[in-house]
């Protein structure tokens, strides 16, 4: 049948091409002699960064890359949370806590060759403080507003705080800089260690119109300059090379770096949104590392002789919130009954793949202010029932319990199963749980944070190494999700934030933790160590609780 031959020819042709293409394969970047000082590391990320101008970024991917390109006065201790010197060699606060003097490192240059000095520091601070219009939107300058509050002139349309912690910056000489504050703040130094407060070359900022922005019809800030997309210039151990959106972002070793030079020649960040795809890319050698390993993949990685798993220290808290606006949760006895009615240890043992621990309070044990000396609530179903009877309630007590779908967070890898375990415990403890669920964003967050759910699963990953990033966020003011007004707790936490001496702050936060666990606005249940996966030949990657992980220390070996 000649026609068949006719049709077969192109098909066979295609097959031949396909096989040919396969045969020509030189497995990318993994098999060749990619090691030592000429090596390239490809890191799989969950998303493309938004912008490489750190003070205008708040997403983890932008900050991860920015942290390799830019540096601030201080950084966090390798693998820890406490502030240590970076571009500042030393610092001291004035007795009133309102003036901080930093002694700068000398001989540092920005990537564009401009000198780094006290004037450059003040230029950057003044840049942030003087932002107007769209740059004052909270989605644009998120971290400035978290740490420093407002701006020099508040834009009438802006939702930024009216007052600012920042008052001014002085540069008496090239290596001395004084930051003036409007009030003493202890969280200031920990805040400065965040990547958003790192310095960019004043010349590059000006040349590439870093602050030129407008607001479009939808109310978005639209940046028109190219500093944060094509010309980022900091002082870091890596320099920006190129960025192909949704495809790859390339940075290369800065050979003029002031400190120890990076070991890798290049790092390429490659966005791979799908988890399974990231794992396969690691297995095939197309990437050498990735973040946010899913609990179900941990065994596969551990079982693969070519791969390794690294732990990030726990810096998150998962909790069951008790909304006191909803009766009978305003009754302490009922909240205690809930706390005694959930078997947290079983949940951690069964659902966290060996990477979690039971949280005793609303902050992880790795920061100061933590105290083991708080009320604990071991699983006692009979005690729960008794407490409910003491509260004058008829058993079982019906209550809605919410959990999110379509989400996995470090502190709750599988919300549905965590919910099921707790619900089953509570049903044995005198409660009758009514299950309620909603997709994580935006529905679930809307319901829970706006106080429409009585009982719900939630959590938080810390921003920086200060207790305020946890306790302050939850309990420093009245929040609809918790639905209570407890002036004593609010005052303790506000005092602790204003205090500058760490020893006094420690005492205040420990006191706050005790009060909170007696008052029981919710039950913290988990603190986990998120995992990172790498190929075996990757050395020197040090996981950090706040995800500030220098690629400059990483090397590829055989």
């Amino acid at each position: 049948m000649p026609i068949l031959q006719r049709w077969f020819r192109p098909v066979v042709g295609l097959l031949v091409i396909g096989v040919g293409l396969s045969a020509c394969s030189s497995t990318p970047s993994s098999s060749n002699n990619n090691k030592g000082s000429g090596a390239t590391l490809v890191f799989g990320t969950s998303a493309d960064p938004k912008i490489l101008d750190p003070p205008l970024a708040s997403d983890g991917e932008s900050l991860r890359v920015s942290d390799q390109l830019f540096e601030g006065l201080v950084t966090t201790k390798l693998g820890g949370t406490e502030p240590v010197p970076k571009l500042a060699e030393s610092w001291s606060p004035s007795p009133d806590g309102k003036t901080w003097t930093f002694k700068l490192r000398s001989g540092v240059k920005f990537h564009d060759g401009e000198p780094f000095n006290a004037k450059a520091v003040c230029f950057n601070f003044e840049r942030w403080f003087n932002w107007t219009g769209p740059l004052q939107l909270s989605g644009t300058s998120y971290y400035w507003q978290v740490v420093f509050g407002g701006f020099k002139t508040k834009d009438p349309k802006s939702d930024a705080p009216a007052d600012s912690l920042y008052r001014g910056c002085e540069a008496p000489d090239d290596t001395t800089v004084r930051i003036l504050l409007t009030r003493p703040s202890a969280a200031f130094l920990a805040g400065l260690a965040l990547p958003p407060f790192s310095f960019a070359s004043p010349k590059a900022l000006t040349t590439y119109n870093a602050d030129k922005a407008s607001v479009d019809k939808d109310g978005n800030a639209v940046l028109q300059g190219t500093f944060g997309t094509e010309h980022p210039a900091g002082t870091g151990p890596f320099k920006f090379v190129s960025w192909t959106r949704n495809d790859k972002l390339v940075i290369a070793r800065n050979d003029d770096y002031w400190g120890e030079k990076a070991k890798l020649k290049q790092v390429i960040f490659r966005p791979i949104p799908d988890n399974a795809a990231r794992l396969q890319a690691l297995q095939s050698g197309e990437i050498q590392g990735y973040d946010l390993v899913e609990p179900q993949d941990i065994q596969t990685i551990q079982g693969d002789p070519n791969l390794q798993l690294l732990d990030r220290p726990a810096f998150n808290i998962g909790y069951v919130a008790f909304n006191q606006k909803v009766a009978p949760l305003d009754n302490l006895k009922v909240r205690q009954a809930l706390a005694y009615g959930m078997n947290r240890q079983a949940v951690i043992d069964n659902l966290y793949g060996g990477r979690g621990e039971v949280a005793k309070e609303f902050m992880p044990s790795s920061i100061f202010g933590y105290t083991p000396d708080v009320a604990t609530y071991a699983f006692q179903p009979e005690k729960s029932k008794q407490l409910l009877r003491d509260a004058g309630l008829k058993l079982p007590v019906r209550i809605e319990f919410w959990y999110p779908t379509g989400v996995s967070r470090p502190y709750m890898p599988d919300p549905k199963r965590i919910f099921e375990a707790f619900a089953s415990d509570l049903n044995k403890s005198g409660f009758q749980i009514v299950p309620k669920s909603a997709p994580w964003t935006p529905d679930y967050l809307d319901v829970t944070l706006n106080g429409k759910a009585p009982l719900y699963l939630l959590g938080q990953t810390g921003d920086f190494g200060d207790p305020d990033t946890f306790l302050g966020t939850f309990f420093r003011t009245e929040r609809p999700g918790f639905g209570f007004n407890n002036p004593q707790i609010f005052k303790l936490l506000n005092d602790a934030l204003a205090e500058t001496e760490e020893s006094k702050r420690t005492v205040l936060y420990q006191e706050a933790n005790k009060r909170i666990m007696e008052f029981l606005p919710g039950l913290p249940f988990a603190s986990t160590r998120p995992a990172l996966a790498f190929t075996k030949n990757v050395k020197g990657y040090v996981p950090s609780p706040v995800s500030l992980e220098p690629f400059a220390l990483v090397s590829l070996e055989k």
Partner: protein
């Protein structure tokens, strides 16, 4: 007025209707972009502030009016989550989706038509039965699963083909068109072209299986129909060579329904293959719009969906016009 002009003019009411539907639909979804952006840190004040910022606190008709106004000025706005202009994202992402869709369709057509034809010619014989079972499998196997399987075999186990992306990270070429194969040709780099093609193989096969199965079945049915027509018998009786009858009389007539299906399938593929794009980290329209739904990124949904509707309508127009080429009896006036 010519047929084509009339069809193009019809686009106006279609687009108006679609813009209104999309507008109402996304605002009927619970929650809004504010919660999506703020995550766990949401507070009611922050949500209100963001809603003020985006004008979401205005009455709906005011919002719709502003939206239409910007459409008239050909402005699609800026994504709330990525902060990039929607038009720029479409310029970057649509070529990715289109390149993948065309490659998948090429696989489907190149294999589907001959398979369907062969099956029909061997009606009720083993090959026919096999092709039926095969196409049933092709339709029912989840693309997602097939993609992971293909990747596991060809990328992880054998290491023959890349498991994701559109180019190797070490390949550097300029992207004037964002069709990477075309970009590679423009850059005059055979290595880059080969690299781009190698990256297309697995996703194109994964995405092409469903249209392949459908095309096989439709071709088979159409060929069976035509084979029994009187004019085929007449042609044979006249002693025309078998392959000429097969090609001119049977296949050409059978291709009419097949081309309709191809057109519809291309339209579907062009609107983005969420799963394939996700698994292969392809960066096209599908994952983009899917994420926009999750984060309630209104400008992306409005702009992206409208753009896809235009593409879909235009593809269908082209398919309708192609009938005239295949079937001389059809003329458009």
């Amino acid at each position: 007025m010519s047929y084509v002009t009339r069809r193009l003019l019809l686009l106006v009411p279609i687009l108006l209707g679609v813009s209104l539907l999309v507008f109402v639909w996304i605002r009927a979804l619970p929650g809004g972009p504010a919660q999506g952006l703020l995550g766990e840190r949401t507070t009611p004040e922050a949500v209100q502030a963001l809603e003020r910022q985006y004008g979401l606190n205005r009455p709906l008709y005011v919002q719709y009016g502003r939206y239409l106004d910007s459409l008239v000025h050909l402005q699609l706005g800026t994504s709330i989550t990525s902060r990039r202009p929607v038009a720029e994202e479409i310029r970057r992402r649509f070529p990715a989706t289109a390149e993948l869709a065309l490659a998948a369709m090429a696989v489907a057509v190149a294999a589907g038509i001959p398979l369907g034809f062969l099956a029909a010619k061997r009606h009720h014989r083993a090959f026919d039965q096999l092709s039926l079972v095969g196409s049933l499998l092709g339709i029912s196997i989840p693309v997602f699963f097939l993609a992971l399987l293909l990747k596991y075999l060809f990328a992880v186990r054998l290491g023959w083909l890349p498991s994701l992306g559109r180019l190797d990270v070490t390949t550097d070429i300029a992207h004037p068109t964002n069709f990477y194969t075309i970009d590679a040709v423009l850059a005059g780099s055979p290595a880059a072209l080969l690299d781009a093609l190698r990256h297309l193989v697995l996703p194109a096969i994964a995405l092409g299986t469903i249209p392949l199965a459908i095309i096989t079945r439709i071709t088979r049915a159409a060929v069976l129909d035509v084979m029994n027509e009187d004019y085929v018998r007449t042609a044979r009786a006249k002693g025309i060579a078998r392959r000429l009858v097969d090609r001119r009389h049977i296949l050409r007539n059978a291709l009419l329904p097949v081309s309709t299906v191809i057109g519809l399938q291309i339209g579907l593929l062009l609107s983005g293959a969420i799963l394939t794009e996700t698994v292969f980290a392809w960066g096209g329209m599908g994952t983009w719009i899917f994420d926009a739904v999750r984060f309630r990124d209104y400008p992306v949904l409005q702009g992206g969906i409208l753009f896809l509707v235009i593409v879909f309508v235009l593809v269908n127009l082209v398919v309708d016009l192609s009938y005239a080429l295949i079937d001389p009896r059809i003329r458009y006036r």
